[in-house]
Symmetry: C2
């Protein structure tokens, strides 16, 4: 056997305490068979001299291993490798997590295909951004939020306040939301119709997981928001794209699809279609509800930007006109406050909401009660509503300024309609403009813009240009950068 | 046609504005066919008189419906029900969400069986509680947390700080956790081996959803934590219970199972087995890793209460001795801070962590960056570590006091071993004591205690008595209440 001093070499500059390093290396020697069960170890004094460390360090290492059962100490006769350990074959130590092909894969584990989830995530490192349509986080009422959050942390009975809660989410927020949705969106809900989620993503996730079976057909308003599409595909569903024109989803085309295939779920961004920003026309809304009754499909209404309407009053959601309880209605504070606040809501029949709350329980047990209650407090005191009014006023200015800039500076290069709401303009660049190249050049000028939806023919050279997250100067700078690159 | 005044009856005491109520009722009349397309409506002045409301209210209601496309106005000749609406059959209006049997079910939607998720949730309304083993939220460092949370909200670039982030979780927290786990638990990780989750629940959920297929066999240390079991069942797996004795999971029994069936995943609470609180003995740990290599099963090590050990140093996790990259290691701040802080971590090979981060993205997009960064800050400044040392000291006192009370007051009625860690005592009441009855009586005295694990024969009349969330006086009160009920 080699001398222990060559086998144990603690790293004095390492973050890990010396005694733990020595204990770890001794364990490895036991495990790979260098030190056999029953082997008598050097005394702590001897080993300390050998390794040139403080004796106390060795005593600590031995104590650790005694406590863990790797060693046993026989009074008066020293310290031994425990005899109760099973014989171990000598094994090559591999760096945990270091392999690219993991043991799990080699052992035959087939991960479910997640390649459909491998969509690039927006890089937000640029100073300027014509993004997908995000809110301006600089406007978020963070002072009010942190005050309310603090009051939720410190007040009341901590056992209840900071303990396990209702998987449906904060009762207070559900109450506030129910009243708010009834007042402003024509819904007829009680708190029991509301499940608090972590954004629309979780709403789609729960519904997909509970309602969809492998092979089910989901029709979406083309081409659909990727966060929803990935969930449908992950649940094993087949996706059928329904064409969209300037009045939203082509409901007649949907009916033709329903004639041919058993559509189970229709996903629709009714208020402002993603990505084209058009609103679903009232007669089509009614027709969609009628088709739902006729063909028995459920409707997932993703109303992510209801609050942001600049022209007339917004159309009330489909959910409010739902006679049959077939609409699951979803919204969130992602656009209202900022994406980092993962609080949203799913509205539906009481029994379905209860069922989905059971499912929520095994996903992450419950939401963030403190944050949910903080938002409820800000709704009750009107802070959220004031913030919304302010945001809508500011975003309307930005839309007006941005679309004027597009007209005056870029009308030779792109076409667009002024959107009547939302946070982005849907623009089609001329065919001779290489959009990915433009986006790459812009990025060098510290401006993020998307390289477009080139994967679908009808969307060739089109792109969403988000205006809400930039102030007027930033919008001018951004348009000027693009102008100079063309 | 009946007079409109009898069909439209706004409720002046309602929360919803009058004009919205009137607009809603008009829409219902159009939808049920009372008002046909092309029908000329009363002028706003006439309808205002009829309904005895301000004329402006009717103008608002008409404007709303014009904007929504339900009405159309012909200059000079008044306001009409829009002709572009499809013919509507008269329908009985049903209250959305009011039915117990929903239209979705009637339309043939079969919810996945979620009855396995329908486990009662702990009621925490009592003043006193011998719970399942929860921490004392009164000790949580809420001042430090709210300060750190605030600083995360207000500092830095809001577009990045409050925008979309890494689905793996806060890079800062992953870095801090990696260093912490390496130093204190003998793991060898980098931040790339760490995925931030929302508690152990989400760790199990992601792993189940990614790794398990229908019919896969999962072996669990009997009888297993319900949060994990529900996830395995939901993923379609069959669960096999492996017996547990005073040294933890019976690894020989597991081997016999592996000989007969292809076990894919072993779920183990190695440090303190749930519910019995015993620790898995070192030789069994090694044997378990060897079986994993031999039979190709993955190990999910749920190390929910590693930090709470009162006797000797805790045994290092299995994950640290994993030579083959077969262990997925999971822990959380649920016990360290309190259950409401849904922040946990899953540690594993880098490629699996990346894969699970893709999956995380469709569940809820990302965690709460502000809270994750706040906890990272408290780890970097040592607040969490100090809080842990303080908690362990206090919980040890409580354990000692509680187990002495059990011995002196209740030794005629129950048997137990003093646990060397964790937050609960595993106690077996005498066969003649009706535990559910006792729990119900205790509840009337404002003391919550569980009615036990009666569903499994080997656990008849056993119960977890959590001591950590009660101070010494409360423990005395609680034992006294039980004593008086026996």
């Amino acid at each position: 056997m080699q001398p222990l001093s060559s086998l144990i070499s603690p790293d004095r500059s390492g973050r890990s305490p010396l005694y733990l390093q020595i204990a770890g290396q001794l364990t490895a020697l036991i495990r790979n068979g260098t030190l056999q069960p029953g082997h008598r170890l050097l005394s702590s004094r001897q080993l300390a001299i050998l390794l040139q460390v403080n004796r106390r360090t060795i005593v600590q290492a031995y104590d650790e291993l005694l406590a863990q059962g790797w060693l046993e100490s026989h009074t008066g006769s020293g310290t031994y490798v425990a005899r109760s350990l099973p014989e171990m074959a000598s094994e090559k130590t591999t760096k945990p997590g270091g392999d690219n092909i993991t043991a799990l894969s080699k052992a035959g584990f087939t991960f479910r295909k997640l390649t459909h989830l491998n969509k690039a995530v927006l890089k937000s490192g640029s100073r300027l951004h014509l993004d997908d349509g995000f809110p301006d986080a600089r406007l978020a009422p963070v002072d009010d939020l942190s005050r309310a959050y603090r009051s939720q942390l410190i007040r009341g009975n901590p056992y209840v306040r900071l303990g396990y809660g209702d998987t449906k989410g904060s009762a207070w927020l559900r109450q506030e939301l129910s009243a708010h949705l009834n007042e402003t969106r024509g819904l007829k809900t009680t708190a029991d119709n509301v499940l608090i989620t972590r954004g629309v993503t979780m709403g789609v996730n729960l519904v997909s997981s509970a309602l969809l079976n492998k092979g089910d057909i989901v029709a979406v308003d083309s081409h659909g928001w990727s966060g929803a599409m990935m969930n449908f595909v992950h649940a094993g569903a087949s996706i059928v794209q329904v064409p969209v024109d300037q009045y939203g989803m082509d409901v007649k085309a949907l009916e033709q699809i329903c004639e041919q295939k058993p559509v189970r779920l229709v996903y629709v961004t009714s208020h402002h279609h993603y990505p084209t920003t058009v609103a679903l026309r009232p007669d089509r809304r009614i027709a969609l509800l009628q088709l739902s009754a006729k063909y028995g499909f459920a409707i997932f209404e993703d109303d992510y930007d209801y609050d942001f309407h600049y022209m007339s009053k917004p159309l009330l959601p489909l959910a409010g006109a739902d006679q049959h309880g077939m609409v699951l209605y979803c919204g969130s504070f992602t656009k209202t406050i900022s994406p980092a606040f993962r609080v949203g809501f799913l509205v539906g029949p009481e029994d379905i909401i209860s069922e989905l709350a059971l499912l929520r329980r095994i996903v992450d047990r419950q939401g963030d009660q403190m944050l949910e209650n903080a938002i409820a407090e800000l709704m009750q005191t009107g802070v959220i509503q004031r913030h919304l009014r302010k945001s809508v006023r500011i975003y309307r200015q930005r839309r007006d300024h941005f679309t004027e800039l597009l007209k005056s500076e870029l009308s030779n290069y792109l076409q667009f309609e002024v959107p009547d709401g939302g946070m982005a303009v849907w623009a089609k660049f001329n065919a001779d403009i290489d959009l990915p190249h433009l986006a790459s050049k812009a990025s060098q000028k510290d401006l993020y813009c998307s390289s477009g939806f080139s994967q679908r023919k009808e969307f060739t050279n089109t792109v969403r240009l988000g205006f809400a997250s930039s102030n007027l100067n930033e919008l001018e700078e951004s348009v000027s950068i693009i102008r100079n690159l063309l």
